[in-house]
């Protein structure tokens, strides 16, 4: 097997999402990988500092996920209790060792710029279209059958200046690839499809470049995120191509709307009325904003001085361990304050 072997078991990147100091909720990790975005998941994802991995394995099957965990447990690398997982000291060593033998993600900060899988598909399809175009071939089977994808690339193609489009696209790719290591540049280009070039699958490319398959899967995503980040603030054909897929913030669509109204000075109650949504929903939206954009979030607007003092009195020490004391169960306001306070403290903690 090509995977990293430790004590006879296959250790995957999952081990890098676990901690020896912090017990982590199994389902939170799974939901993050799956992109199941409840506020609870996002909150704990933030606490575990694994938010960049949000939606990175949408096809993940629970059986596979659970099997990977059981393997770690069976090998004495992790312990599970009350649906939470904690690395043992052997597990902590295995985690350190893992990083010695496997690639580290380089472009984590770009992971939430949009759906990276879609970026990949779009750039590959555009590359194919341009390659065939450069050979003046019109008869070929497109890489994607998705109607939206075909339309998007077609539209992009029509809006570009054809006279030096191929040259520019190639130039832009070259510029980005030159910032990468040789192996990574090769790996990315091997995936491209075009005129009489079928391209390499991830497994085939990994084998050619002697990269373990589990690394290849990670590196693939990492490099496409890297490409996205590289072109996000440039101008030119590549930027135009991916721009429609770029999300200004990682917020969900509905949260985005709430956030815009909030920025325009609407109160929570006004937003509820304007959007015909429940108070609890709007509060969840605001919590999502606080989680993803803590730097911009006006915590003081909600946590007035007396509220803040009260919270400071009640909740100290490790944020993970705080137990919410329900004083009003009626409308969830104090839980909202509690959660905001947790997020604020976490932000201050990480900012240090």
């Amino acid at each position: 097997m090509l995977n990293g072997m430790t004590g006879g078991i296959i250790v995957t990147y999952l081990i890098t999402l676990l901690s020896a100091k912090q017990s982590r909720r199994i389902r939170v990790i799974e939901n993050i990988l799956h992109n199941k975005r409840t506020v609870t998941t996002l909150f704990w994802g933030m606490r575990y500092q694994i938010l960049p991995w949000l939606g990175s394995m949408r096809q993940l099957e629970r059986a596979d996920f659970d099997a990977q965990l059981s393997q770690l447990v069976a090998a004495g690398l992790a312990n599970i209790s009350q649906n939470q997982v904690l690395l043992s000291s052997a597990g902590y060593q295995a985690q350190l060792q893992f990083w010695q033998h496997h690639q580290r993600p380089q472009f984590l900060k770009f992971y939430l710029l949009g759906d990276i899988d879609k970026m990949e598909k779009r750039v590959l399809l555009a590359g194919q279209v341009l390659s065939e175009y450069s050979f003046q071939n019109k008869n070929y089977a497109p890489l994607s059958f998705d109607g939206d994808e075909l339309r998007a690339v077609k539209l992009w193609f029509h809006q570009q200046n054809k006279s030096n489009l191929v040259f520019q696209f190639k130039q832009e790719l070259t510029t980005f690839l030159s910032t990468l290591g040789e192996q990574q540049a090769n790996f990315l280009v091997m995936q491209l499809v075009g005129h009489k070039v079928a391209g390499w699958s991830t497994e085939q490319a990994a084998e050619q470049l002697e990269l373990p398959v589990i690394d290849a899967t990670m590196v693939r995503r990492d490099l496409w995120a890297g490409l996205t980040g590289f072109f996000v603030d440039k101008t030119g054909p590549m930027h135009d191509l991916i721009a429609p897929l770029i999300q200004a913030t990682p917020l969900s669509h509905s949260t985005q709307i709430t956030y815009e109204l909030f920025n325009r000075g609407y109160s929570i109650e006004q937003i509820c009325r304007a959007r015909h949504l429940k108070l609890s929903t709007i509060r969840e939206h605001l919590l999502e904003v606080a989680i993803f954009l803590p730097r911009k979030f006006p915590f003081q607007t909600f946590l007035s001085d007396p509220v803040m003092q009260q919270l400071e009195q009640h909740y100290q020490g490790n944020v993970d361990q705080w137990q919410f004391n329900a004083t009003d169960k009626s409308d969830g306001q104090s839980f909202f304050y509690f959660r905001l306070f947790q997020i604020m403290r976490s932000y201050q903690e990480y900012a240090q």
Partner: protein, 484 residues
């Protein structure tokens, strides 16, 4: 009505073929005359032309029902690459808004591809009812009659849909079907046997030598496989019934032989499937280790061997899968590897989809839910929604079990026979038998080797490129041609 001459002229102009292949003209003429037609033509006989040509000469849209997403994608891609723009595919890949947009403009499309599951949706069948359907095509029509792991209950709803659409001319296409299956297809689609035109061509493919190797253990089987692929010239396909084994053996063979081998199955992501399929077409891959997901719609006529690592559940599937070899008419070979007990795999797969009588009773009375049963739950809820009671459902399961058993037995007879295998197949499909000779099969104690068949590997092509030679700058140059 157009004459044969006019049709041939159109064929030349529109499709660039000199003349019709055997069987094609008959079917095209019948379809253009509005006659329901059942075409049983071997793979490679040019089945898609049978609806593509009439589509351009008739008013309205052609609806093509297809069992596999990959098959539909392939046909859509090919139509598009021939410059056809008015083609769409109703599939699970579409988002709700995409689907709605397509349905709103349905009459604009000359070709509408859809799975039976999608067609069962009310908004889809209503949208189809509003447009003019010139031809209703059921591709891989044996699925209508099929049971076991491949059974798709929604095929049984096509009968109602054909009525709903005002009985458009219906064309059923399949590569293999016994007389019984042919009757069953017409029956299930509610078509009158008397008025249906049937165009049946022999399943016999004389250029494919048929052989079976019986092995004692799976190690011996792997060893035999290794020897075969070392001796035989490619390209070739090896079929497996498990994805996992397809992947494992692909890796092992590549390691052992240095040949370019890849796995292909539904568990591989779409982009990778595209790449592997095209590598194979471009002769960059020598061998594909596949599950039955690979092959339908593969347009490669120089496949020299098809090896089955596992037996098929029936001869229909087997004949169809080996039919992917030698479409160019040159010598090819089909080899089936068998270990005692291999038949337990299709048996188990069949059992999985058939719930026990008690489960059926519990389901009908609501004590068990769809979710608890998985795949067979969908099947049961389909029957219940059609108004069947537990007794009737169980009776149909008993009949199906019996039928599967008979089909598997025929497959085993093929494997165990010491006589002519080709004649056994011909007899199974109610065809006239023929004279066995040395180029026919390994029955009747016929000795054979890759050399005697002229299938010995000679070239050293298809070898995995040596590591460390890839250069991304060079690759960009070969991808993007600059004429300056």
């Amino acid at each position: 009505m157009l004459s044969e001459q006019q049709l041939t002229k159109f064929l030349q102009q529109k499709f660039g073929y000199e003349s019709f292949r055997p069987g094609q003209l008959d079917v095209v003429t019948a379809v253009m005359n509005g006659q329901n037609t059942l075409a049983v033509l071997p793979t490679g006989a040019g089945k898609t032309l049978l609806y593509q040509l009439p589509a351009y000469l008739m008013n309205g849209s052609v609806v093509i029902v297809s069992p596999l997403l990959s098959l539909m994608q392939d046909q859509v891609a090919r139509l598009r690459s021939n410059g056809e723009k008015s083609v769409t595919m109703l599939s699970s890949l579409q988002s709700v808004s995409q689907r709605q947009a397509t349905l709103a403009h349905l009459s604009q499309f000359r070709f509408i591809f859809a799975s039976p599951e999608i067609l069962a949706q009310q908004n889809v069948s209503d949208a189809l009812q509003r447009i003019s359907v010139s031809l209703f095509v059921v591709d891989e029509a044996h699925c209508v009659s099929q049971w076991g792991p491949n059974f798709r209950p929604h095929y049984l709803m096509l009968k109602g849909l054909i009525q709903h659409l005002g009985k458009p001319t219906t064309l059923m296409l399949t590569a293999t079907a016994t007389k019984r299956v042919q009757r069953d297809i017409l029956d299930k689609l509610g078509l009158d046997k008397q008025s249906v035109k049937s165009a049946v061509r022999s399943v016999n493919r004389e250029n494919i030598f048929m052989a079976v190797k019986k092995l004692r253990t799976s190690e011996a089987k792997n060893q035999e496989l290794l020897e075969l692929v070392t001796q035989l010239t490619g390209p070739g396909i090896i079929y497996f019934s498990s994805r996992k084994q397809a992947t494992q053996i692909a890796g092992w063979l590549q390691e052992q032989t240095g040949l370019a081998v890849a796995a292909y199955h539904a568990g591989i992501d779409q982009t990778a499937r595209y790449k592997i399929q095209h590598q194979f077409m471009q002769n960059k891959l020598q061998i594909i280790c596949a599950t039955s997901a690979f092959g339908m719609g593969i347009d490669k006529d120089d496949i020299r061997f098809v090896i089955h690592y596992h037996l098929c559940a029936n001869l229909e599937n087997y004949v169809q899968e080996i039919g992917r070899a030698g479409r160019d008419g040159n010598q090819s070979i089909a080899i089936l590897l068998y270990c005692d007990g291999d038949e337990r795999i299709p048996q188990r797969l069949n059992q999985l989809t058939i719930p026990s009588p008690q489960v059926v009773i519990d389901f009908v009375s609501g004590r068990v839910t769809v979710d608890q049963l998985g795949e067979s739950g969908e099947l049961l809820s389909f029957y219940v929604s059609a108004g069947w009671n537990a007794e009737r459902i169980n009776q149909s399961f008993i009949e199906r079990k019996q039928q599967e058993k008979e089909q598997l037995n025929a497959m085993l007879q093929y494997i165990m026979s010491e006589h002519c295998r080709r004649n056994l197949v011909l007899a199974y499909f109610d065809e006239t038998t023929m004279q066995h000779d040395d180029g026919c099969c390994d029955g009747e104690q016929t000795e054979w080797s890759a050399a005697t068949l002229g299938l010995q590997r000679e070239n050293e092509a298809y070898i995995v490129p040596p590591k460390g030679q890839f250069n991304w700058l060079q690759q960009l140059d070969s991808l993007f041609f600059e004429n300056s």
